[in-house]
């Protein structure tokens, strides 16, 4: 009897009998491997436990004549023994029961089974990773009932699977990751906050591996969104150089906040590895005590000298990208002392010749760097602020506290 089906499950594939050219039984299939560097989905190797032999045999995909539920038939005589040190993604060993990231639904899932597409009756391509109850059912009764029964019995249970293209494999060993060509491209398209949620779900090992592998920019985005203690544990487990690369991509205040949770010795090492400019900024921010406005503030604000017109200001700001967070443009005197603040919205639709001084806020609300967090919150509440400039004792502009920092702070306190 011949079963015609366009797909096959890993649970069905494992244990299939392999026959040679003359129809003699060689052994049973033990594992199947993908070589992502060659082809992301095609099953490249079939590993067969030969009857009576100690070692497994490794069968290349082009040595297979046909694959079906009835077994695997070969079309080549020359089979090589399998070496455990070969770089391949073995589906049973490396994928089954392990966690992967579902990049489409943005969550961490555990692999229960794998669905293959049968191409031309002789090639398998990984199509989906199965996670739901249906796959659990198949696993439990694999080898207990014949596959055809299992296929019938499982049909009322709904399918729950992830397309292979959206499955991001987690590989802890950097060498294997490189050789297997496992990329983190899928993650780089995600919103940093979503990525951070995923990272929080992972264990420290996978987390570390991910932060090793991601582009520093992506890693920095995700790190910014994480809870302080998770940030610290990630930074402490990374190589100092790698940690420095990531911190350089972060806003200095965020970098300082993350570093302040890290043990002193490690944080000194990381700072050592950072480039001079961001390092000095982070160092300066770390000078402020925890729980003060100095620690809360961002140093990414825009300031222009006194005495300009709207046109001058727009010209100056044309190439600034630090305006995204703040709603205020600060005006400073020649010594750097804060002189005034202008809501950015007021710049719109004014003649270019309007002097900036006409647009300034009547009352300038400002905080000092050593001001307590509680006072900062009070100011935000009292004056309905979106942004609070922070100055030192001499009135020099140091940075600005943004509303989103205050929201995070309040949420933390509410917990």
């Amino acid at each position: 009897m011949h079963v015609t089906a366009s797909h096959l499950y890993l649970t069905e594939l494992i244990g299939l009998v392999v026959y040679d050219l003359r129809g003699r039984r060689i052994g049973k299939l033990q594992d199947a491997a993908v070589l992502p560097a060659m082809d992301p989905a095609r099953v490249d190797r079939f590993l067969v436990g030969s009857s009576g032999g100690w070692t497994w045999l490794s069968i290349r995909h082009d040595q297979v004549a046909s694959i079906s539920l009835d077994g695997i038939r070969l079309r080549d005589e020359v089979l090589t023994p399998y070496h455990a040190d070969e770089y391949m993604l073995r589906l049973v060993r490396d994928l089954l029961d392990q966690q992967i990231i579902d990049a489409q639904d943005r969550k961490v899932v555990r692999v229960t089974d794998v669905t293959f597409l049968i191409r031309d009756g002789r090639e398998l391509a990984v199509q989906e990773v199965d996670i739901g109850l249906r796959a659990v059912f198949r696993r439990l009764f694999q080898g207990v009932f014949p596959p055809k029964w299992i296929r019938k019995l499982q049909s009322p249970i709904s399918v729950n699977s992830i397309r292979w293209e959206y499955s991001n494999i987690l590989e802890e060993d950097p060498q294997r990751r490189l050789r297997l060509n496992i990329s983190t491209k899928l993650l780089e398209k995600m919103h940093p906050a979503d990525l951070a949620d995923i990272v929080e779900e992972l264990g420290p090992d996978d987390r570390g591996a991910l932060f090793e592998a991601m582009e520093p920019e992506t890693a920095a985005g995700a790190l910014t969104e994480l809870e302080p203690d998770v940030q610290a544990s990630i930074l402490e487990n990374l190589e100092a150089e790698r940690a420095a690369d990531i911190l350089e991509e972060m806003a200095p205040d965020e970098a300082a906040a993350a570093l302040s949770e890290v043990e002193e010795e490690t944080s000194a090492e990381i700072l050592e590895e950072m480039e001079a400019a961001p390092m000095t900024e982070v160092r300066e921010l770390l000078e402020f005590d925890e729980g003060t406005a100095g620690r809360l503030m961002s140093t990414q604000y825009s300031a222009v000298p006194v005495g300009l017109t709207v046109g001058d200001a727009l010209e100056l700001l044309r190439n600034e990208d630090s305006m995204e967070e703040s709603n205020l443009l600060f005006v400073v005197d020649s010594a750097g002392r804060l002189d005034g603040a202008i809501p950015l919205a007021r710049l719109l639709g004014r003649p270019l010749t309007t002097p900036l001084s006409e647009l300034s806020l009547d009352t300038l609300i400002q905080g000092t760097a050593d001001m307590d967090e509680a006072q900062v919150i009070e100011l935000f509440d009292k004056y309905n602020l979106l942004c609070l400039p922070v100055v030192d004792e001499e009135g020099m502009l140091l940075g600005a506290v943004m509303a989103h920092e205050v929201i995070s702070l309040l949420r933390e306190q509410g917990r």
């Binding site: 264990g203 420290p204 203690d229 544990s233």
Partner: protein
């Protein structure tokens, strides 16, 4: 120095919860009955067993919490990764069965403790079921934990009722440190029962999951370890007060067997309404508390191990299996109490058998996992600790299997 002490205290209070709650819930309706029975029948003699029990408990709980902190994964997660799905499934199936019967036992505890105050079980059980469901489904982890910690504090009822009975403290102190072995079947059976009920499979899963949920990491593990130890000691202290109360109130009048925990409460009546009321309140609190934690922990463990969405912060639609399991456990667990003539005692004995059969597997998996380099890195057991751990595990397994044998014999006799 002062700053560092303050820092440690702060961290300690921020990690308090999982270890403490797990150990204290161990004194659920079943545990209270076991200790009451021990005190009523043998007086102060069994007190010494609490010391080795505490040690055994500390060793197993410590390994679990360490695994949780280091891997940030639950126990069923780790078992699945290392031992495969089928093993995990069989284990979880046994766990669900045992826990369901434990849930029944605890709803029975709610019913019988309130019946002593004249509240019908047809009122108390449905209310308790609804209360458990609402608390868990509508609460957040942090708020639920606060409720649980408050419930832990209510165990002080037992301490007060123990004091009110005015037991013989000198004798209690003496027998707390003086091991007495009587070679009579009843005494041995009681000792085995005390040890066997003290470490249950669900505790290992719950503790590790709670440590992960709480976000304890390897870094603040030192404080977490202290918390686990303190929890185990507190659990023993409560158990000793239960034994002492029953020894003072029942055994000193006439050594006798009791049928359930409410019998013990009735025995306290001659020592004043307060002693009686507090003992009942303690039983109610413990039963309700366990009826919350057991179904919740079961649902978490199963979904985690089989890879289904879980967590009370997800909606019913997102995590259907989690919610159905949780809801099913409390409705069935509470519902059977209302069926007249339901063989509850048999069920509870049966759950002891399942627990006993399951425990060796869980403990052996644990000890293997905690020694895996790939899983634990530098946090594996060292040789000396392994010796202690294996001794504890073997002892625990032996005593649990002995309890199973006694139970099975008792059911068929």
């Amino acid at each position: 120095m002062i700053r560092s002490i303050r820092h440690h205290l702060l961290v300690f209070f921020s990690v308090i919860g999982p270890g403490f709650i797990t150990a204290v819930v161990d004194n659920d309706a079943g545990g209270i009955f076991t200790y009451s029975q021990a005190g009523a029948r043998y007086g102060y003699l069994p007190l010494w067993t609490l010391m080795p029990i505490t040690l055994l408990l500390i060793v197993t709980q410590e390994m679990c919490s360490r695994m949780g902190a280091v891997t940030e994964k639950g126990l069923s997660d780790l078992i699945r990764e290392e031992f495969g799905l089928r093993t995990t499934f069989l284990m979880l199936a046994a766990l669900v069965a045992a826990n369901l019967m434990n849930v029944m036992a605890n709803f029975a505890g709610v019913a019988s403790s309130l019946e002593l105050f004249g509240v019908s079980r047809y009122l108390s059980v449905p209310v308790a079921v609804a209360a458990v469901w609402l608390l868990i489904v509508k609460g957040t982890y942090a708020s639920v934990e606060k409720v649980f910690l408050f419930a832990c504090a209510l165990y002080v009822c037992y301490i007060v009722s123990g004091v009110l009975v005015k037991p013989d403290w000198k004798e209690a102190a003496l027998y707390s440190v003086k091991p007495v072995l009587l070679f009579e079947p009843g005494y041995l059976q009681m000792l085995i029962g005390m040890v066997g009920t003290s470490v249950a499979p669900w505790m290992q899963f719950y503790l590790q999951a709670a440590i992960v949920e709480k976000g304890v990491t390897a870094k603040d593990y030192a404080e977490s370890r202290i918390e686990v130890i303190v929890g185990c000691v507190v659990m023993s202290a409560i158990a000793s007060f239960i034994i002492v109360a029953c020894a003072g109130a029942i055994w000193s009048v006439k050594p006798q067997d009791i049928a359930d925990a409410t019998d013990a409460a009735k025995g306290l009546k001659p020592f004043g309404d307060w002693a009686f009321t507090l003992f009942c309140a303690g039983l109610l609190n413990a039963s309700f508390f366990a009826a919350c934690i057991l179904p919740l922990s079961t649902a978490y463990t199963v979904c985690e191990g089989l890879g289904f969405e879980s967590g009370v912060n997800r909606s019913f639609k997102e995590a259907p299996i989690f919610y159905w399991l949780f809801t099913g456990l409390i409705i069935v667990g509470g519902g059977v109490i209302l069926i007249p003539g339901f063989p509850l005692v048999k069920m509870i004995l049966f759950s002891q058998v399942i627990n006993g059969v399951l425990l060796p597997f869980v403990l052996i998996f644990m000890i293997q996992l905690v020694n895996k380099e790939r899983v634990m890195h530098d946090w594996r057991n060292n040789a000396a600790y392994n010796l202690v751990a294996w001794t504890a595990v073997v002892l625990m397994i032996g005593l649990t299997l002995a309890l199973v044998a006694l139970t099975v014999r008792g059911v068929f006799a």
